[in-house]
Amino acid sequence: MAEITLDGITKVFPDGQEAVKQMDLEIGDGEFMILVGPSGCGKSTALRMIAGLEDITEGELKIGGEVVNDRAPKDRDIAMVFQNYALYPHMTVRGNMGFALKLAGVDSGEIDRKVEDAAETLDLTQHLDRRPANLSGGQRQRVAMGRAIVRDPKAFLMDEPLSNLDAKLRVQMRTEVARLQSRLETTTVYVTHDQVEAMTLGERVAVMRAGELQQVGPPAELYDEPRNLFVAGFIGSPAMNFMPAELHDGKVKLPIGEVEAPEGVRANGDGRVVAGLRPEAFEDAEIVGDLKQERGVVIEAEVDLVESLGSDLYAYFHVESEGVESEQLADLAEESIGETGAAGLREGEEQIVARLDPASRIKRRDRAQLWADTSKLHFFDPKSGDRLRPAS
């Protein structure tokens, strides 16, 4: 049990690449912290520095109040779950799980007891004498977890532990991991590129981009109050819709209509801004009562595609717009282009995703009336990408 403190942690690789830049992060005792970001954002490097598998170029790392920068991994009392599990193929499940205890000189009776306890927790008892090669992916994953928990270390470090499982198993193991962590109350740092995993698992989530920490906070905070365009676009699925907007005389002109600018945004003065609206802020105008309609705008658009998931209905449509240019969004585009199918758009059009009530009868190629709750709009500075918030 221990807290982990990163103070100005920087990693520069010998080839000059700066993987992690001045990272400050405090992970509380027993906390479940998620590091999330697109591939290459430095999240794994950060984790490996905590583990001691990567040297820290600059800054100070404390585990349980002690500076551990120069300690070997074995002296940090942490356990790590690797993306590919890294099970020892020449040892049985029992051997794998007991290896750390054996190295620590624990007597064999004690090792057996601890391994069997952990095996029971993870439902591995009947596999204890098998070798990793004879286990399924899910079982291997559990052995990797078991190897970490038998030791009762100061902290668990997990590097995309679920990314090699198939979708169904991944969801199942996700709850398993969450349950295990809350039961053991061991400080955990969990790296993932999957924002859904991050949102569902973490007590707090740290979003990283290009080696820099963007925002740290509970999932709901990241979702409702993203600090910048990157966080806004990264967190949430389907992603937030972005459109260019013009601030003028206290009004915001959007491709979907004109609305009164909120207090804090108005204070920033006239000019161009980026507006963001989450898919669930839209609704089929037929379903929304007249009363609510006053709070937002109603747009008419041709629906390009409708995806019905049973519980939700996603409608894709496009609006006339010259698009939003931002470095932060460009970073996201690479990953999301496949998901949203935004590739098929013509110049001067912007795709919008709306999450509608499944009762909606909107169909593909309909010209539909859609209501947008403009009170849910987020505004961002187009240059810095920072969110414009009410001046307080």
């Binding site: 590919n84 599990y85 020892y88 190295l103």
Partner: protein
């Protein structure tokens, strides 16, 4: 189906031809070794009468009298020492080369390759002089050193290839589990690299066991003369008999350890030992 059968038949014929080609000299050797001295030159491929006289003559007189026992012991000890030293040194070197970035890595690899390519005959003369000067002539060490020189590069190359195959995460997992780098090496990497190590060991052993050039040039007595060299000094029963029979018998005897060695380790040279370490 038809084509498959035909291909199978052609392959079978090919394999049989190669096997016969390779095995006939061996069979011939065995046959000669089993003939009594009088009928060695009778022209029969198979001995008409089987006798173990040639084998008996090899071991006659015990360690002091026999021309064969002492060289056999020399061969075994020299080849085994070379193998053990080469594998230990090569595994450390190969591990460093496979895992670490350090200045001079390319030079070491290139140097090793250059040495392996170097014609041994050109080193024999200088070694002969040097060894006589510093007292290594006709000693075990005098043979072990040149054997190491030529077999180490081979072993290093084989092992580097093997170590590179082992996922680095395994070692990192071991370190996080509390192992020192040395423990991670001995408890995780070495067991996984065992097939590679045995392969390298066999190559080194065979090289040292078969060598004739260094053995004949750098030894002068049975103190360190190995079997291949000692065969040249075999004499017949009398100065008028050719020692063909006993040479054949000795050749058969020295082939046996190699076969045993290979068969014994072959079971360990199984691929796929690393299966299941990482996601499969």
């Amino acid at each position: 189906m038809e084509r498959g059968t035909r291909e199978y038949a052609l392959w079978s014929i090919g394999i049989v031809v190669v096997l016969v080609f390779a095995l006939i000299p061996v069979l011939w050797l065995v046959s000669v070794s089993l003939k009594p001295p009088e009928s060695i030159a009778d022209g029969n491929f198979l001995p008409t009468e089987i006798s173990f006289e040639n084998y008996e003559s090899l071991f006659e007189g015990g360690i002091d009298e026999s021309p064969f026992i002492k060289p056999l012991i020399n061969s075994i000890l020299i080849a085994l020492s070379t193998t053990v030293i080469a594998i230990v040194l090569a595994s450390f070197t190969a591990y460093a080369i496979a895992r670490l970035e350090f200045p001079g890595k390319r030079v070491i690899l290139a140097g090793a390759l250059a040495i392996a390519m170097f014609p041994p005959i050109s080193t024999v003369g200088p070694l002969f002089d040097m060894w006589r000067e510093i007292g290594l002539y006709d000693t075990y060490l005098g043979l072990i050193i040149p054997y190491l020189t030529f077999s180490l590069p081979l072993a290093i190359y084989a092992l580097v290839a093997f170590f590179r195959e082992i996922p680095w995460e395994l070692e990192q997992a071991a370190q996080v589990d509390g192992a020192t780098p040395f423990q991670a090496f001995t408890k995780v990497i070495v067991p996984l690299a065992a097939p590679g190590m045995f392969t390298a060991a066999i190559l080194v052993f065979i090289f040292a066991w078969n060598d004739f050039l260094f053995a004949i040039s750098l030894t002068s007595t049975d103190a360190s003369r190995t079997v291949p060299a000692s065969l040249a000094f075999f004499t017949g029963e009398s100065s008028f008999t050719e020692p063909t029979g006993s040479i054949a018998a000795a050749a058969v005897v020295v082939t046996v350890p190699i076969i045993v060695f290979v068969l014994f380790f072959q079971r360990r040279i199984v691929s796929g030992l690393t299966a299941g370490a990482v996601k499969g």
